[in-house]
């Protein structure tokens, strides 16, 4: 009561007829004293919570009372539900997209004309973590080789790689001793994707991990690549792995796209029954975020960019995603 009296005094000013409203509509923010304001705020919060609980109970009672005639439960809004519709979303039956994909740079791979051979390298002077990450990545991706970059220019490496029949080039960029960027370039004249890499976990940092990944060719799972851009990125990832997975190995590499973040995981699975499967994580894990997609091979100055992440334009809406 004392607090209430103090508040009334401090409210100071609303004319008498307004005070007739009950309870008095004073806002908590008008109290100058921090302690008292905090106290009033807590009280207000408690009241709100109580009202909410009461409303919930009432609604539940009504629902039970109606029984079958009750309106169906409302679906909670998630960011995925509320996603702004992207006009470049690929319809599975779209012919134009199918035609494009049959004639783009990955067509030779998908027609089984080329076998993927991958070169993994880093930026200059890699530190221990990056080196170990490269090695683990090489075990995960079959038919891949790690080479040290001793200050060589990428533009000179690329013709050499093409000459030696490599199909893909991965460059892991390092900053302050942790890998933070990935450049994935499809070699014979293919697109180059530049990603920002985050939360890299090496094998020893993963809890409850299994044994080392074996030499078997893993399966590939690509989730949620819906738009045209997402499709091309997904195909890039798919072209890293050989076509025929060896099911004996029971290994699966997953690229899961969620809100423009691509999560990479490498698991070993086992079917316990026909409705239950157990998975065990081996292998490194990391998340990627696409920064730019360039038409030709790596050329930062004169390249033709298909897509660049422009922060000012593209990060305006929280419900808009591009992959």
């Amino acid at each position: 009561a004392g607090h209430g009296g103090g508040d009334d005094l401090e409210r100071g000013g609303p004319p008498a007829p307004q005070r007739v409203l009950f309870p008095p509509t004073f806002s908590v923010s008008e109290i100058k004293n921090k302690q008292r304001r905090h106290f009033m705020f807590l009280r207000w919060k408690q009241q709100q919570r109580k009202e909410k609980l009461a409303a919930k109970k009432k609604r539940r009672k009504e629902r039970e009372a109606l029984g079958d005639k009750a309106p169906p439960k409302a679906i909670p809004k998630t960011i995925e539900n509320q996603r702004v519709y992207d006009e470049t979303t690929v319809d599975p039956n779209d012919e134009e997209v199918a035609f494009d994909e049959a004639t783009d740079e990955f067509a030779p791979y998908f027609n089984r004309q080329t076998v993927p051979k991958i070169l993994i390298t880093t930026s200059d002077r890699p530190r221990g973590r990056t080196v170990r990450f490269c090695e683990q990545l090489a075990t995960v991706i079959p038919n891949s080789h790690v080479y040290y970059r001793r200050g060589l220019a990428l533009k000179r490496i690329i013709p050499q790689c093409i000459a030696r029949d490599f199909t893909d080039l991965i460059v892991i960029n390092e900053d302050r001793k942790i890998p933070n960027g990935l450049v994935l370039s499809h070699l014979p004249d293919g697109p180059t994707a530049h990603f920002r890499m985050s939360s890299v976990r090496l094998r020893k940092e993963i809890k409850r991990k299994g044994k080392e990944p074996t030499e078997h060719v893993p399966e590939v799972i690509l989730n949620n690549f819906t738009t045209r851009l997402g499709h091309s990125v997904g195909r890039m990832f798919a072209s890293l792995f050989p076509h025929d997975p060896q099911f004996i190995g029971r290994q699966v590499a997953t690229f899961h796209n969620q809100r423009d973040y691509i999560f990479f995981r490498f698991h070993r699975y086992i079917f316990k029954s026909e409705k239950k499967v157990g998975i065990q994580e081996l292998g490194p894990r990391f998340t990627l975020k696409l920064r730019s997609l360039q038409k030709g091979t790596f050329d930062s100055k004169f390249g033709e960019y298909e897509w660049i992440h422009k922060r000012r334009e593209m990060d305006t809406s929280r419900r808009k995603f591009h992959l």
């Binding site: 799972i221 099911f247 899961h256 969620q258 423009d260 079917f271 026909e274 499967v277 998975i279």
Partner: protein, 290 residues
């Protein structure tokens, strides 16, 4: 005079160009030849002094003489040195011809060092440049938070498991696993159907048999019963009543038996228990009687 200057600045009092460290004193003066704070290298404490300085890739020789000590604006005389290394050295020698050895030597050393680092700069600019991009803290924080939320929303394990099960259903794994779902379920369903149909069939067969037996029995008994009835009818109604009562009793017995839930077969045979009892007992009695 320079002696006085040195005794003031260099040794005791404050010189703003002087930087002291644990082991050495440095001189920050831009005209200093060696960079150290010494009696011989202090440009303020020497009235005759020379330095090499470079501007925009070209080297200049700066000289200071006593004659111009009164004119600070004209104090330092500047000579552009040749781009050629040897010719520039000759130029230095030519200009500093009667100067102390120390200054000449140090000038040439400095010039050598400067040309070397200029060469290195030119070489490095040809190689790849590393572009430093500043991170914006707010954006970094935002990205990290969004990644965490996306990870939670992704529910990766569930998604992977679902995908694998779907692939199993669609038979991409072929015959590797011993529980292809469809066949198993179908087998189960079939078994269920078979068992039901079998039980039905059995029941039907049993019923048929019962029906047959009933018929068979009935036929016999009917004949007998007819005879019996006829006999009974001929004889007296009391027997009929007794039989009826017996029948009723037996019926009631059977009914009671039926009511007390015993076994399946007891229940199943309930509809014709009565009849059997009726007809079986009667002929037995009849036969016994007979």
């Amino acid at each position: 005079s320079p002696q006085v200057v040195w005794s003031m600045l260099g040794n005791r009092q404050f010189c703003s160009y002087k930087m002291t460290t644990k082991t050495q004193n440095f001189c920050r003066n831009e005209y200093n030849l060696t960079g150290l704070c010494n009696r011989s290298s202090c440009p303020l404490a020497n009235s005759q002094y020379a330095t090499i300085r470079e501007e925009k890739g070209r080297c200049y020789l700066y000289m200071k003489t006593i004659e111009r000590a009164a004119f600070p604006r004209r104090l330092w005389e500047r000579v552009l040195l040749n781009k050629n290394y040897e010719k520039a050295l000759e130029q230095i020698d030519e200009n500093l011809i009667y100067w102390p050895r120390f200054i000449r030597h140090k000038c040439k050393q400095r010039f050598t060092k400067i040309t070397q680092y200029l060469i290195r700069i030119r070489k490095l600019t040809l190689k790849r440049q590393r572009k430093l991009v500043p991170l914006r803290r707010k954006i970094e924080r935002r990205e990290r938070r969004r990644e965490e939320k996306a990870l939670i929303a992704a529910q990766l394990d569930n998604a992977i498991e679902k995908e694998l099960l779907e692939r199993l259903k669609q038979d991409t794994y072929g015959d590797i696993y011993n529980f292809p779902i469809h066949a198993f379920d179908k087998a189960l369903q079939q078994q269920g159907a078979e068992s039901e149909s079998e039980s039905d069939a059995e029941r039907e067969e049993e019923e048929d048999e019962d029906v047959d037996t009933r018929e068979f029995v009935e036929a016999e008994d009917s004949e007998l019963s007819d005879f019996e009835d006829m006999d009974k009818l001929e004889t007296s109604s009391e027997e009929e009543q007794e039989e009826e009562e017996e029948v009723e009793k037996k019926a009631s017995h059977s009914k009671s038996k039926g009511k007390t839930p015993l076994k399946g077969p007891a229940r199943r045979k309930r509809p014709y228990i009565e009849i059997e009892y009726e007809e079986e007992t009667e002929p037995t009695t009849k036969t016994k009687a007979a």
